[in-house]
Amino acid sequence: MSVLSQLNVIQVSGLTQRVNTLEGSLTILSDINFSVKSGESVAIVGASGSGKSTLLSLLAGLDVASQGEVHLDGDALSTLDEEARAQLRAEKIGFVFQSFMLVQSLTALENVMLPAELAGDHDAKAQAVELLDKVGLSHRLGHYPSQLSGGEQQRVAIARAFIGSPKILFADEPSANLDSKNGHLIETLLFDLNKQNGTTLVLVTHDEQLAKKCQRIIHIEGGQLEKISEGGAANVG
């Protein structure tokens, strides 16, 4: 492995994803190649159905590619089984989803603690309280998701994403379900925390404005990598 590839926390080569349908095999992603450096922020943009969410699922090891390879912090995902990929996610990855995906029966604090607890971390509480404080929810620790607004739920999800200090953060349309005010708030929070923690951010969005806040933008069109452009934050990182 070269020095360059060691700097690349995500290395994608020849990534292809096909699914079987009633009408035969359908190619969703075709021969995608790119890399993401450690600490870099990258947006994956494209129209609905372009394959950007599929790409995210392959990058995060939630699904297995039909062809090609994803190296995540040096580990080739195709060589790992489901359990090993889960272990990898537990150690190195954080997530923020469009639909928040909080566990309804756990409080805000407990939701934030969940990844750490699953990884066997005994001192998760202090870190979770601190993260919730950072997202401005220190007064909502004991609230359940149904007692929080959409913006608040996503702030909990962001706090959860940063617990355990992941190397990479995947965010899938994090502000799409929110009004513009709350959306901006979330975006700011996400970028601020990302910067503070030195995390690599991979953001899936169809929002050009949001994408521009990243250093690089990967454009996906019809399952193919159309181009990689510089984002508005290119000179920042």
């Binding site: 699922s57 995060a60 889960a86 989803f97 995906m101 566990v103 699953l118």
Partner: protein, 836 residues
């Protein structure tokens, strides 16, 4: 670490009500099985105790020959209480009057069950005692006092002995319902048999050993006894077919068993559905945990711990609630019946806990395995994993579990198979029907936006889910209808056996010339009575010219001089009749073809004798009547209902017997207390006639029937409550699935009335269809079950074809309506939040 997380998740899920349905389902299974089996056991024990009165013991051994002393000795070693009895006929003499009496000599322990009713003199009040007369004294039945012209305190000669008459014998617990010698009964102390010198080698005597103890001791003893039983020795229990209430007890037990089975089925349906639903609701959290790095092992451990906890809690809760319910029920029954119910053993506890455990494990297994397989990708593709929802393995596993549980609980493969097969028919019919109906629904062309259109559209859209819904509604309705109808049939069948106006007194030994004046007496005193039957005694001497004793011995594979069983060797009561008596049924052959007026004498024989004697249609039986041989051709065999409390005849001859033998007449009447004086006068005027009071027997039978009916009603209500709970939980589950649609419709501005009415119509259709199919299938299954298991003439019940759909539609739609109306009271924002 996962343990802490698992407990935290469990307590939250429990508090949020996510586990309530699964908890309720297991608890319901345990509660139903516990309360049903405990109540059934307690009632069965009580009935068994009460019914043991009918044979004055729990089991008895009868023979024409004396028993080896070893039999009694061994019984004591097995912990059984024993008593000895000897029946023989002997002449009684007093005041120059001579009469043949039926003597029963008993040891001091007699009766082991029940009590003897006696009077201090003819006019005093009857009371109960626990043992027979002391040595040197006898108790005589009322008729003998008149015939022998004696009073209490006088002496009578019995055989070679002289005895003090100390009491009037009113009733022994094991007195036969009907016997020609019924009114000339003598109770004697066993020690006095020798004094009478009436029992000599070759005398016609019947020996009986009585046994009482718990079931285990009895069956242990029987296991020891069985290999050495001689064919002239007959082991009888109260449940033997020919014992008067044997049939009814058998039916009652079968009903209680069925009710228990249905309880298990209902709880199993609730469990299978709720386990699946609970697991489906965990798909998102599991996908989330996997995405956040939770390993399969940790997730498996978390949910297995949840299952273990919820199973433990629900079994404990089910047992506790079941115990409370059965205690309240048993107390109520005991108060009503004026008796104390014996405590149940450990069986209900073990059985219900075991069934709860099996239900939890088997019905959750597949949904849980599916849950562990949920791909983490579901966090991005929300419907991923939904296809796992309907699994053939889950259905197959659930059905197998239900079958095995039913079989285990009942120990009867036939009953289990009938119920299970009919249930499968319900499922198949409903599945096909739901497909057809829901596919046709849209073609009706209702205007969009109407409640009916919305209801039909929802039904069609959710065809698969609705089919499952329909099946569980129909199963619950089917089981409930089935039990209600069966209960009514059984009870009305019993009531028919002992109708309120049933005769309570048999009048026998009526001479031909006495028939007219006695009829007139009845008429003058407004006493309802039955026809006067000609009755005579005869002994079966030969069949097709072959001597009877030899023939019976051959059947029994015994030596020639070993006599036959008691039932066959006894001189049976005979009559002639023009038509088949009520309650009898021809099983083979035909009733007297030309009205029995031809040259040949024909005979219709009780089918029990057909087997014992190896008789067939066309055989010639030679009867010895007053030493005069009479040949009769067997033209039919009859089933006789010995539990009917009516005079039953082993042999009925054709009417052309009239004039060939001397007869006395027999009748039965319904007497009231006001008739007592008139009856005494009648007995004094015609001292040769005898009256047998069967009031006590009727009352005893009625009390047992009332007790069993009450028990059945109680058990039925438990099953009905379970059924209703299953329906409620089903509607609730279905509504939870519909919430999203309700919220969308509400958000889009649909009026509450439209949504409520659409739900009402949808559930009305579901309930109606489920009820109709349930009614039809129940009726067919009932037809089979009644004939196969309950010995009741199977018939269809058209009223349930209406009752099923109407009650189904009303019940299901009203629950649905109520729940939706409740939801509608919350504001739309609140509903949206709840959906998450």
């Amino acid at each position: 670490m996962w343990v802490k997380l698992a407990f935290k998740l469990f307590s939250r899920e429990f508090r949020r009500g996510e586990l309530t349905i699964i908890f309720a389902a297991i608890a319901l299974a345990v509660l139903t099985v516990f309360s049903l089996s405990a109540i059934t056991e307690r009632i069965s024990l009580n009935i068994a105790h009460k019914s043991s009165d009918f044979i004055a013991s729990d089991r008895r051994l009868s023979s024409n020959h004396a028993f080896e002393p070893q039999l009694l000795k061994q019984a004591s070693q097995f912990g059984l209480a024993t008593a000895q009895m000897l029946y023989f006929d002997s002449m009684l003499f007093a005041n120059d009057e001579l009469v043949l009496g039926s003597v029963k000599a008993t040891t001091a322990a007699y009766p082991l069950r029940g009590k003897i009713t006696i009077k201090d003199n003819l006019t005093s009040k009857a009371y109960e005692v626990e043992t027979g007369p002391k040595a040197g004294s006898v108790w005589l039945s009322e008729g003998l006092f008149y015939t022998l012209k004696v009073n209490v305190g006088d002496k009578v000669e019995l055989g070679a002995g002289k005895f003090n008459v100390t009491k009037v014998l009113v009733k022994e617990p094991d007195a036969p319902f009907f016997s020609l010698s019924g009114n000339k009964r003598v109770l004697l102390n066993y020690a006095d048999i020798e004094t009478t010198q009436a029992v000599q080698p070759g005398s016609r005597v019947f020996h009986r050993l009585l046994f009482a103890g718990n079931e285990q001791e009895l069956s242990d003893y029987y296991a020891w006894l069985k290999p050495q039983l001689k064919s002239n020795q007959n082991w009888q229990g109260l449940k033997d077919r020919q014992s008067p209430l044997g049939n009814n007890l058998d039916r009652a037990e079968r009903f209680l068993l069925l009710a228990g089975l249905f309880g298990i089925m209902l709880a199993a349906v609730a469990m299978a559905v709720s386990a699946k639903r609970y697991c489906e609701r965990q798909y998102d959290p599991v996908a989330m945990m996997k995405t956040l790095g939770g390993s399969r092992k940790v997730i498996r451990n978390i949910f297995l711990l949840h299952l273990s906890l919820v199973t433990t809690f629900s079994i404990v809760a089910g047992l506790a609630l079941g115990f409370v319910l059965q205690t309240i029920g048993a107390d109520y029954l005991a108060t009503f019946m004026g008796t104390e119910l014996p405590q149940a053993g450990v069986r209900p506890w073990l059985l219900s806990a075991f069934i709860g455990l099996v239900c939890a494990l088997m019905f959750s297994l597949k949904p849980l395995l599916d849950l562990f397989d949920i791909p983490p990708l579901r966090v991005l593709r929300r419907n991923l994993g939904d296809t796992l929802a309907i699994s053939r393995i889950h259905i197959g596993l659930s059905m197998l579990t239900i079958f095995v549980l039913m079989w285990l609980f009942s120990g009867e493969i036939v009953t289990t198979l009938i119920l299970f097969a009919s249930t499968l028919v319900v499922i198949a019919v409903l599945f096909a029907l739901s497909r057809l109906l829901f596919a046709a629904g849209r073609k009706l062309g209702l205007s969009p936006g109407s409640s009916w259109s919305l209801a039909l559209a929802t039904l069609q859209k959710r065809a698969n889910a609705n089919a499952i819904q329909l099946i569980s509604f129909a199963l619950a309705i089917k089981l409930m209808l089935f039990l209600v109808v069966l209960k009514n049939d059984i009870i009305s069948d019993w009531q028919m056996q002992v109708p309120a106006d049933a005769p309570n007194m048999f009048i026998i030994n009526i001479a031909k010339e006495e028939v007219t004046p006695i009829k007139k007496f009845f008429k003058d005193n407004n006493i309802a009575h039955e026809d006067f039957y000609p009755v005579f005694s005869g002994r079966v001497d030969a069949v097709n010219g072959e001597e009877f004793a030899r023939r019976v011995s051959k059947q029994e594979g015994e030596e020639k001089d070993e006599n036959a069983r008691e039932g066959v060797s006894r001189e049976p009561n005979l009559t002639w009749l023009t038509s088949l008596p009520e309650g009898n049924e021809i099983t083979e052959g035909e009733w007297f073809s030309d009205g029995g007026t031809g040259d040949d004498i024909e005979v219709s024989v009780f089918d029990g004798w057909q087997e014992t004697l190896g008789l067939k249609i066309g055989d010639i039986i030679t009867l010895l009547v007053n030493e005069q041989p009479i040949d009769a051709k067997v033209t039919s065999f009859r089933k006789v209902d010995w539990g009917s409390l009516k005079p039953n005849f082993v042999m009925i001859l054709s009417p052309n017997m009239a004039g060939k033998v001397p007869v006395t007449y027999f009748s039965a009447a319904k007497l009231h207390d006001r008739d007592t004086k008139g009856i005494s006068q009648l007995l004094q005027r015609y001292p040769t006639i005898s009256m047998i009071d069967i009031k006590a027997q009727i009352e005893q039978a009625q009390s047992i029937i009332a007790q069993v009916s009450l028990a059945i009603g109680f058990v039925l209500s438990i099953v009905l409550v379970s059924g209703a709970l299953v329906l409620v939980s089903q509607v609730q589950a279905s509504l939870a699935e519909r919430m999203q649609e309700v919220v969308i419709l509400r958000t889009l501005g649909a009026k509450g009335r439209l949504i409520k009415l659409a739900t009402l119509y949808e559930f009305m259709l579901l309930g109606g269809i489920a009820g109709l199919v349930a009614a039809i299938v129940s009726d067919v299954a009932l037809l089979v079950i009644q004939q196969q298991l309950f010995d009741i003439a199977g018939r269809l019940h058209p009223y349930i074809w209406l009752l099923g759909p109407v009650s189904g539609a009303l019940f299901v739609s009203s629950i649905g309506y109520f729940m939706v109306a409740n939801t509608m009271r919350q504001n739309t924002q609140g509903l949206l939040r709840k959906l998450g």
